[in-house]
């Protein structure tokens, strides 16, 4: 037993992004308290964007440093606090996604969040930061306890965010539901973790990796119980079917930017955790764990398939745009889970680049679609699909951008969504998981009908008014960034994939310690 390793000055440099976010949270909270009431709280929103971007710059810097080490022959990761926190390319890439997506979401909400609706606008803006911080901790942790702390930080901040429309009954209901399911999910995860600790005698992911082979030999059942409990917890967090029933209610009740945050950042963070846990515990490394590995990954594959089917089928009859997008998020979570379930030992493009590419495409299409929804619902006061009726006449350019986003959601060429699905499909076909490929393809076809209901409304129906819709500058900017990025990802997917492939390596990021 070695002495506890404490935080050193040196480590703070590697924790810079996290520290920046924490500092910004405190500073903005104090600013919100001290500013007179008459000043518009949008300034805090801009502060939050600044904080997210600053943290992003630090993450970028780290990526650059790690790259330089790899060139110099050093191992491209740093273990802090005795390995309970790791800074590596996997974590950094995901952190960039979290920070970028959150910055876009906050930017899109600037000017669209109304004071009457959200009386605590200041809190609304700065509470995003600790939530992102939680997500970043999840992406970087090398220990079960750190994982759990990150998850709770993200969870608690987002419970408040969901309930931030204090005057709305729906929002209160959503927050309550989210607290209950979130708490249940945490309980499942924690329960599973305790079994895992019991079986392996360690909370360190690297420690678990070393002794899991013995644990499987000793008490296979315990390992199964541990992992299945955790899978249930994550499935609840990710809203994978059949653990998705809370998602439409919560998504509908939450303010639209928060919905978008839950759909993108909270989900991506849970995926980060799944990857860390399932790959890092070296289920790959030992032959005697092969049976357990296959069973667990089959369970994940079945969950993915169920999520795709249930998400798409449930959304078919949906008339509320937010509920529809919530269920589409269920299906997309299923798609994002597919690469993880593929057998890494056979040839394919590495489970991670497919995942990160589709995640990026998903971030842009989802954030963009929700941003358009804020514009529309601000104008028409309704979050129903019918609010989109005749948008082509009222705001032709926004309708055009939405069409691009819809094509990406539906997976039509040439968009990021198309190539993302294509790469994942190629992986499934290469590893001979034809049934998974078939389910992915057919749910995609059904989802055409679903997503095109937006297009039908926008182009084929006429709205109540022909008055031009006003699009706030910041929101319009986000819509266009997302639409252009969705198309650009489709035309030129190569730079991103080359970059991710150059940075990430399964053996260095997950398996070495």
């Amino acid at each position: 037993m070695q002495a506890l390793q404490t935080l050193t000055w040196n480590d703070t440099w590697y924790l810079a992004p996290e520290i920046v976010l924490a500092a910004f949270t405190i500073a903005l909270a104090l600013l919100d308290l001290s500013l007179p009431r008459r000043i518009d709280r949008d300034i805090i929103g801009w502060g939050a964007v600044l904080g997210l971007v600053t943290a992003g710059v630090f993450v970028g810097w780290h990526i650059h440093d790690l790259g330089a080490w790899e060139k110099a022959g050093e191992s491209p990761f740093r273990n802090l606090l005795d390995g309970s926190y790791r800074v590596d390319d996997f974590g950094n890439l995901l952190k960039l996604v979290f920070l970028g997506a959150s910055a876009l979401i906050v930017l899109a909400s600037l000017g669209t969040v109304k004071k009457e609706e959200v009386p605590i606008k200041g809190e609304f803006y700065y509470l995003v930061l600790p939530a992102v911080l939680g997500a970043m901790v999840m992406a970087s942790s090398g220990d079960l306890i750190t994982l759990f702390i990150g998850m709770e930080l993200l969870g608690i901040a987002s419970y408040i965010l969901v309930g931030v429309r204090k005057s709305s009954g729906l929002s209160g209901e959503a927050a309550f539901k989210y607290v209950v399911t979130g708490g249940t999910a945490s309980a499942f995860v924690l329960y599973g973790m305790s079994f895992l600790y019991g079986a392996t005698g360690s909370t360190r992911l690297s420690g678990i990796a070393q002794s899991i082979g013995d644990a499987v030999e000793g008490s296979k059942a315990l390992v199964y119980v541990a992992f299945f409990l955790m899978i249930v917890g994550f499935a609840l967090k990710l809203a994978l079917a059949p653990f998705h029933a809370w998602a439409p209610d919560v998504y509908q009740g939450a303010p639209t930017p928060v919905t978008s945050f839950l759909g993108v950042v909270a989900k991506a963070a849970a995926f980060a955790m799944l990857y860390r846990l399932f790959v890092n515990t070296a289920l790959y490394a030992y032959a005697d764990t092969a049976q357990v590995r296959e069973d667990l990954f089959l369970a994940l594959a079945v969950l993915a398939a169920a999520a795709m089917i249930v998400g798409v089928a449930g959304a078919l009859r949906q008339q509320n745009a937010k509920r529809l997008l919530a269920l589409s998020g269920v299906a997309n979570a299923g798609i994002l889970l597919v690469p993880l379930t593929l057998d890494i030992t056979s040839f394919h493009s590495s489970l991670f680049s497919e995942f990160i590419y589709y995640l990026l495409a998903y971030v842009f299409m989802n954030v963009g679609a929700f941003a358009v929804l804020t514009v529309v619902s601000r104008e028409t006061g309704s979050e129903e699909l019918s609010g989109f009726a005749g948008l082509y006449h009222r705001a032709p350019w926004t309708a055009a951008a939405m069409t691009a986003l819809i094509c990406s959601l539906a997976g039509l060429p040439v968009t990021g969504g198309f190539f993302g699905k294509l790469f994942i499909l190629f992986g499934t076909v290469q590893t001979k998981q034809y049934w998974l490929a078939a389910i992915l393809l057919f749910t995609t076809v059904v989802s055409y009908y679903l997503y095109f209901s937006f297009i039908r409304q926008m182009f084929m129906r006429s709205g109540d008014t022909e008055r031009q819709t006003k699009v706030p500058m910041a929101t319009g900017l986000v819509v266009w960034i997302c639409a252009i990025a969705s198309v650009a990802l489709g035309v030129l997917p190569k730079p991103i994939l080359e970059w991710v492939d150059g940075l990430f390596s399964v053996s260095l990021d997950f398996l070495s310690r």
Binding site: F347, Y434, I455, R456, F459, M460, L497, S505
Partner: protein, 536 residues
Amino acid sequence: MLEDIPVLSILTFLPLLGTLITLLLPQSRVRFIRGTAIAFTFLPLLLAIALYVSYEPIVGGGAFAEKLTWLSIPLNTEAGLADKGATSYRLLFDYRMGVDGLSLPLVLLTGAVASMASLASVYIRKRWKLYYALFLLLQTGMYGVFLARDLTLFFIFFELTLIPMFFLIGIWGYFGREQAANRFLVYNGLGSAFMLLAFLILIATAGFSATETASGTTLSFSGSYEVLLANLADPNAAVNQDSIMYLSDNLKWTAFILLVIAFGIKLPIFPFHTWMLKVHAEAAPPVVMIHSGILLKMGAYGLLRFGAFLLPGQLQSWAPVLATLGVINIVYGAILACAQKEFKLVLAYSSISHMGIVLLGIASLNEAGFEGAVFQSVSHGLISALLFLIVGSLHERAETTRIDELGGLASVVPFTSGILLTAGLASLGLPGLSGFVGEFLSFLGLFDSYPWLVAVGVLGLLFAAVYVLRSVLSMTYGPLPDRFAAIRDVRFVEALPMIALTALIVLLGVYPALMTDMMSHSFDGLLKLLQSKVGG
């Protein structure tokens, strides 16, 4: 001279340029927008004609082929590849375009029908700017489908036709337009899903190749048509060996059947045809001209290009199935066409019947049959485009195309009636018009192997005479209802495409060698392969 420029890409992307220009024009300048759209539709047609003039069947289209590495995606090299001496492992998406005797007739058909449809778009009454932008975008998709030589690129173009077509049906159609658009989307999306699954299976097995370079071995997966064709024919390639890339018989069959369903929905093969009835009945006439004239042919083309050329063994075993399906299409379409009261539905069912003949041609597995299939595709494309042009013109004037409501039109619109009669005769296969040649070649091809099926199929042709003459005659002769007494015959702008299409139909009927010469030698490789299978 054409060889020196990327003529196929220019041909394909000219309409896309037109789309962008159209989008930049102000909405109010309708005449200007229409002029631009027509110009950008005729330019590719002129290029296609130039291509036809300089194409030599014996040489093939090799000189026109274009190849660009579009995407070269790195794959994971950690799965122990370094031990086997591989330095690089990639997934290739190439931009490959090519033309041969199978593509060229369909490219010409696309040019001809799209140009005539652009003239016929005078029937469109609203939102011209969006209409023409989508109309041009659709053309890029169609040219791309016939010219792409990479599976992924083909798929992208195939899907690219889907989106504009959904809008074109759903915005400018008749009363049930949205339902028709939805059905179109879901059925064709389903087809695409089948197709993509088959393509991915082929890429992950037959698309594998290892190339030695100075820096080591490069392993790659590619969707290139040439690579697939070469690998599948080479008994030493990984795809035919006991390896992880092995394409077993079961997988081959899976891929083949997936392809048959995918393209069968498009063609359409009974029972996948219900969506196209809706589209025929509900979409605007120029849109149906494109749909019936070109889009259905993408099914025939895909079946030949990927089903027949890539998996000839499976095609050979399934020839009787395809032939039977073809006969069912012919007879089913013809009988139901006899029972329709709506002229558009008569034409829709007649399309099913005529596309059945294409299946017979493919199932015959000989040169006459293959040529017949392509010829029939082109000829039916021209005839149905002409018929729907007439439908548009009649609907404009009489506001109905129901057979029982129309009558005596010959006295008020003699020109249209004359063209209608000619088109009808071409459709029922009168010798001297193009319909006859396609049917004759296909039946001739199949007669060698399945004379009985041919006999049943020819029965279908008898029905064709019944439904064509019944509907055409009852519309043009008989008493003229009073409310139609004031309608006038076509204007010049409508007459022009009618005359042009009729001329093409007559020309191909009188001198079919114009097209069959183009196709000769295109099927040589495939036929050799088929014969070697029979021999060995």
